[in-house]
C-alpha cells in the first residue's frame, strides 16, 4: 500500500482513538554494499527497507511508536502503543506537533549520477584500490577492510497541522584499511571517505597515502611520557569533536550534563575558533531542509570567534529556553524518541597547511589514529583519555613513529588551548554520536601523553 493511503487511514483512526494532533514520519532506504578480499567479491548486499514512526498528542501528552510493517493491521499497534506511552509520561515540558515553518530552504541533496553508478564500476574501483595498494610496496600483505556502500534515503513528514515535507538524499561511503608486514611486525592503516561523486575518489592517491601511512608506523620508539604540544591530524580532530559533539545539545545543557549550560555569549574557546552547523552543505551526508519535527533547517554558527552563540535545539528545548527551534530535532532513523543532533557540523578552516604546522613545531606529538572514543570520554566533565597512534616531531620534522600511546586531557580546556588551525577539513560519520562532523588539523598547546 502507499504511504498516502496509510497516512489517511492512520489519521482517521487516530482521531477516533482520541488523538488531538498527529504526525507520521517515514524513511525509505536503499543500499548497495560490496566488499572485496584478495581481488574477489567477498560480500555483496542489497537492501530496501522502510519504516514509519508515529507521534500523537493524547490527553495533552505525546505518545510515540514505530513499525516496519506498512500494512493496515499495523495501525492499531501504532495507536495503542502511542496511547499507552503518552499516558505513562510525567514530564512537564511537552512536545508539540509542529505547525510548519514559514519558509523552507530549497536544495537538491540527491545525485542522479551517483544513483546510477553501475555495480561493475563500483567493484572495479575496489579492485583498482587493491591493485594500487599492492603495487605501492612489497610489504603490503593485503587489505583487512575494503568496501563500498551506496545509500539513498527518502524521508517524509506529514502531520495534522498541515506540514507535508519530503526529500531524498544519497551518498557513497568507501572504507579501506591496508595491512603491511615487516618481519613479525604487522601494522595497518585505514580510512573512510564519503562522497556524492564517485569521480572524486582518487583511488591511486588514496591507496598510496594509506600504504605510506602504514609503512611510517614501522619501527616505533618509546618517547618520554609527559605533556606535549599535540597536533591532531584532521581526521582525529574530527573524531574528537564528534565524540564531544553532544555537549552542544540544549537537551544535555538543560539536563545539566553539559558544561556549556549558561555559557551563551561567553568565550569558551580561542578567538580563532568558529564552529558551524550547515544543513545545506553541498557534499554533506546529513544535509536536509527539515528536521525530524518538520522544522526548517538553517546554517548557524554555534561558536563564533571563540564565543558560544547558540546551542542546538529542538522544539521542546527551544520553548524552555524561550527561543525558536534551530531545526535540530533528531531521531535515530524513524526509531527512538526525539532528541537533538547536529547535521553537518565543522570547525571553520584556518590558514595553515598541515606541513606548515609541523614545520614550526619545536617538539610535539602528531596523532594520526584514535581508538576507544566511545569509552574513554567523560561527557559530563569533558575529561578524556584515548588510545592513540602517531609520531614524534622534533625541530619541525617528523622524527619517528611512537609506540601505542594514550592522550589525555579535557575537551573544554582543549577548546581554549588550540594554537593553530589547519585549512585541511575532513568530515566523517561516527559510531560514537550522530552527525557528520568535520575538522581541519588542530594544534593543541598541551595534552598528557603516556607511551607504552
Amino acid at each position: 500500500m502507499n504511504i498516502k493511503e496509510f497516512k489517511q487511514a492512520l489519521f482517521a483512526d487516530g482521531v477516533e482513538a482520541g488523538f488531538s494532533e498527529m504526525e507520521l514520519y517515514y524513511e525509505r532506504e536503499e543500499t548497495f554494499h560490496c566488499e572485496l578480499f584478495e581481488g574477489d567479491i567477498d560480500e555483496y548486499s542489497t537492501s530496501e527497507v522502510f519504516g514509519i514512526s508515529f507521534r500523537g498528542l493524547y490527553e495533552g501528552k505525546m505518545g510515540t511508536s514505530f513499525t516496519e510493517k506498512l500494512a493496515l493491521d499495523s495501525i492499531p499497534f501504532l495507536l495503542e502503543s502511542a496511547k499507552e506511552n503518552a499516558l505513562i509520561l510525567d514530564e512537564e515540558e511537552k512536545e508539540q506537533i509542529f505547525e510548519g515553518s514559514p519558509h523552507y530552504g530549497e536544495a537538491n541533496f540527491y545525485s542522479q549520477d551517483l544513483a546510477e553508478v553501475p555495480i561493475p564500476q563500483m567493484i572495479q574501483l575496489l579492485k583498482d584500490i587493491e591493485r594500487y595498494a599492492r603495487e605501492e610496496d612489497p610489504k603490503v600483505t593485503g587489505l583487512d577492510a575494503l568496501g563500498l556502500t551506496n545509500t539513498e534515503t527518502e524521508r517524509a513528514l506529514y502531520n495534522t497541522k498541515g506540514v507535508e515535507r519530503i526529500e531524498k538524499h544519497n551518498y557513497m561511503e568507501l572504507m579501506l584499511s591496508v595491512v603491511i608486514k615487516e618481519g613479525d611486525v604487522i601494522k595497518n592503516a585505514g580510512i573512510t571517505k564519503y562522497t556524492k561523486d564517485i569521480q572524486s575518489f582518487d583511488v591511486k592517491k588514496i591507496a598510496a597515502e594509506l600504504v605510506q601511512e602504514a609503512l611510517e608506523q614501522l619501527g616505533p620508539k618509546g618517547i618520554e611520557s609527559k605533556s606535549y604540544p599535540v597536533l591532531l591530524r584532521r581526521d582525529t580532530a574530527s573524531a574528537l569533536l564528534h565524540t564531544f559533539s553532544p555537549v552542544f545539545s540544549a537537551e544535555k545543557a538543560q539536563k545539566g550534563q553539559s558544561l556549556l549550560k549558561d555559557q551563551l555569549g561567553k568565550e569558551v574557546a580561542v578567538s580563532q575558533l568558529t564552529i558551524v552547523d550547515d544543513p545545506f552543505l553541498s557534499d554533506g551526508v546529513l544535509s536536509r531542509t527539515f528536521d525530524h519535527e518538520g522544522v526548517a533547517t538553517n546554517r548557524i554558527e554555534i561558536v563564533k570567534d571563540g564565543v558560544i552563540c547558540t546551542l542546538l535545539h529542538n522544539q521542546k528545548t527551544a520553548e524552555k529556553a524561550g527561543i525558536k527551534s534551530t531545526g535540530h530535532g533528531y531521531k535515530d532513523s524513524y526509531k527512538g524518541s526525539l532528541s537533538i543532533s547536529p547535521t553537518n557540523m565543522y570547525v571553520k578552516p584556518g590558514t595553515h597547511s598541515f606541513e606548515g604546522i609541523i614545520s614550526q613545531l619545536k617538539e610535539g606529538v602528531l596523532i594520526t589514529e584514535l581508538a576507544g572514543l566511545h569509552s574513554g570520554a567523560n561527557q559530563v566533565s569533558g575529561d578524556f583519555s584515548f588510545a592513540a597512534n602517531g609520531f614524534y616531531i622534533k625541530d619541525g620534522k617528523i622524527l619517528t613513529a611512537v609506540n601505542q600511546m594514550t592522550i589525555a586531557g579535557n575537551f573544554y580546556s582543549l577548546l581554549k588551548g588550540i594554537e593553530m588551525i589547519g585549512k585541511d577539513v575532513e568530515f566523517a560519520l561516527s559510531y560514537t554520536a550522530p552527525g557528520y562532523i568535520g575538522s581541519p588539523s588542530l594544534l593543541i598547546n598541551s595534552l598528557d601523553v603516556t607511551v607504552e
Partner: protein, 462 residues
C-alpha cells in the same frame, strides 16, 4: 511468520543463478524503551521491527539482501536481485525443509509484552529512589529500561527450518554526583535473556547503590598516575579486557582471512597457563545466551584457550568455508539488516585458585580496577584499549586512593602471557558488542585477574 511455501520459493529463486547455498532469516521484533529522568518518565517508545534477510553463498562469495517488504513479490524480487551477483551454470537443488523443534534453554516466565507500562515504571522509580537517596551529593539519576521480544525463523537450502523466540530485558542506572564545579558519574546496567521476572527479582538495592557509590567515590578520586604497573582487574565486567585483548581476535571474521594475531596458531601456547578462556552460549538466561545462533545452529560451550593453549575459534558458516572448519554456533547478527558473522556470546576466564584478598595482598605497588568501562581492539595488530570507571592505587598490599581517568592500553597476545594470578570469584557482566554484524548482547566475565605489567594512561605523569 511466513508461509513455508513462500520460503521455499525464495530459497529456490536465490539458487537460480548457481549459488550453492541459500538462507532466509525472518525477524519480527517488539521493543520497548523507557527513560526516567529526575524521577519522571521523559520518554517511552514502543516499536516493531519486521524484515527478512536472504543470503546466498557460491564458494567463498557471500551475497546478502534484506528488505522490509515481506510480500511474496517483494521477497522474490530481493532474492533475484541478490542472485544476479552470482553467475554459474552449476545449479543445484535444495533439500526439503525439515522442521526442527528446540526446547528453550532459557525459560521466560513473564512476557514483557503482557506487562503494563506502569509496572515497568514502578521498578524504574524504585531504582531511582535508591540511587538518589544514596548520598546528598548525588545530583541526577537517569534510569533506562529496555525489553524486547525477537522472533526469528531461519530456513536454508540444506533443509533447515527452525524458529526461536528471544526475550531480553535490561535496566541501566546512571548516577551523577556533584561537588563544587566537579561532576562524576557512575553506571550499572544489569541485563538478561529473560522476561519481566528479571526486573522483579533483581537486586535493585545493590545495582542502584553501586551506580551512586561509584559516582560519589570518584568525587574524591585523584588523577590516575601514568606508566607501567601491575594491574589487578576485578571480576564481572572486568572480563571486557579479554573480550578485547583476545575474544575478537578468535572470531573467524578475522581468523579466516589471516587478519588476526591468533590465526593458524591452534595448539600453540598463546597465554599464561593460568588462562582458560571459554565462550558459552548455553548459560541459563544470561544476557549473551542463545538457543540457536542466527544461522540456526544450536548454542554450545566452546573452549577457546585451555591452560594457555589455543584450542579453538568462534566460527560461522561462511568463514568456516574458508577455514575448512565447521560452525561453532557463533553466527550472530544485530537484526535482519546484517548478514551474520562469528561473534561471542558469554565469554569468560575460568576461575583459578587465588582468593581476591591474596591477590591484593601480594601486590606491592599497582593499580586495582573495580569496574571497567568499554574498550576496543584492532584485531589485525592486537592493540587494544579500554577505559576504567573505578580504580584504586594499591600500596603494600592494600587499596588506597581512588583514581580516575585511567585508560589501559596494550597488545592482546602480550597481555595474555602476563597473567600471573587468577582468582576464584568468577562473575559475569552484561554489555553490547559492536562489530561488522551490528551491535549484539554479550556477557563478559572473569574472576579477579592480575596482569604483571600494563600501560596505564592517566593525567598524572610519574
Amino acid at each position: 511468520m511466513l508461509a513455508k511455501s513462500v520460503i521455499e520459493e525464495v530459497l529456490d529463486a536465490a539458487l537460480q543463478t548457481g549459488g550453492d547455498f541459500s538462507e532466509v532469516f525472518v525477524e519480527d521484533r517488539y521493543v520497548n524503551h523507557l527513560s526516567l529522568q529526575a524521577g519522571k518518565v521523559d520518554s517511552s517508545v514502543t516499536g516493531r521491527d519486521f524484515g527478512v534477510g536472504i543470503r546466498i553463498f557460491k564458494g567463498l562469495q557471500s551475497v546478502y539482501a534484506y528488505t522490509t517488504d515481506a510480500s511474496r513479490d517483494g521477497l522474490l524480487k530481493a532474492a533475484k536481485k541478490a542472485a544476479e551477483a552470482i553467475q554459474s551454470n552449476q545449479v543445484i537443488s535444495r533439500l526439503p525443509l525439515q522442521k526442527e523443534v528446540i526446547s528453550s534453554l532459557h525459560p521466560i516466565e513473564i512476557s514483557p509484552k503482557e506487562v503494563e507500562k506502569l509496572r515497568k515504571v514502578n521498578v524504574m522509580k524504585k531504582a531511582y529512589e535508591i540511587a538518589k537517596n544514596y548520598h546528598s551529593s548525588v545530583q541526577q539519576v537517569t534510569v533506562r529500561y529496555m525489553d524486547e521480544e525477537q522472533n526469528v525463523l531461519i530456513a536454508n537450502s540444506e533443509g533447515k527450518f527452525i524458529e526461536d523466540r528471544r526475550v531480553r530485558s535490561r535496566m541501566a542506572i546512571q548516577s551523577i554526583a556533584a561537588r563544587g564545579g566537579q561532576m562524576e558519574s557512575g553506571y550499572y546496567a544489569p541485563a538478561a535473556h529473560q522476561g519481566f521476572e528479571f526486573m522483579e527479582n533483581m537486586n535493585l538495592e545493590h545495582y542502584s547503590n553501586e551506580a551512586s557509590r561509584i559516582a560519589v567515590t570518584m568525587l574524591d578520586a585523584t588523577p590516575c598516575p601514568s606508566g607501567k604497573f601491575p594491574v589487578i582487574i576485578d571480576n564481572e565486567f572486568g572480563g571486557v579486557i579479554f573480550h578485547e585483548a583476545c575474544g575478537h581476535g578468535l572470531e573467524a571474521t578475522a581468523v579466516a582471512k589471516n587478519n588476526s594475531v591468533f590465526a593458524n596458531r591452534i595448539g600453540e601456547k598463546v597465554a599464561s597457563e593460568l588462562v582458560t578462556y571459554i565462550d558459552d552460549g548455553t548459560l541459563k538466561n544470561d544476557w549473551g545466551s542463545i538457543n540457536i545462533d542466527d544461522e540456526g545452529e544450536l548454542a554450545r560451550k566452546n573452549t577457546l584457550i585451555k591452560n594457555g593453549i589455543l584450542t579453538g575459534y568462534l566460527i560461522d558458516k561462511f568463514n568456516g568455508r574458508r577455514m575448512n572448519m565447521p560452525s561453532t554456533g557463533s553466527g550472530r547478527r544485530e537484526n535482519y539488516r546484517f548478514a551474520p558473522t562469528s561473534r561471542m556470546t558469554n565469554t569468560y576466564i575460568a576461575p583459578g585458585k587465588s582468593t581476591p584478598e591474596e591477590i591484593i595482598a601480594n601486590t606491592e605497588n599497582g593499580i586495582y580496577t573495580k569496574y571497567m568501562g568499554g574498550g576496543s581492539v584492532n584485531p589485525t595488530t592486537g592493540d587494544y584499549n579500554f577505559a576504567v570507571m573505578e580504580a584504586y592505587l594499591v600500596k603494600n598490599g592494600k587499596l588506597t586512593t581512588p583514581l580516575k581517568g585511567a585508560t589501559l592500553i596494550g597488545n592482546g597476545p602480550k597481555t595474555l602471557q602476563l597473567v600471573d594470578m587468577v582468582g576464584n570469584n568468577l562473575a559475569h557482566g552484561a554489555g553490547l558488542c559492536g562489530s561488522s554484524s551490528g551491535s549484539i548482547p554479550v556477557n563478559v566475565g572473569q574472576p579477579m585477574v592480575r596482569i604483571s605489567e600494563m600501560t596505564v594512561g592517566g593525567r598524572k605523569g610519574e
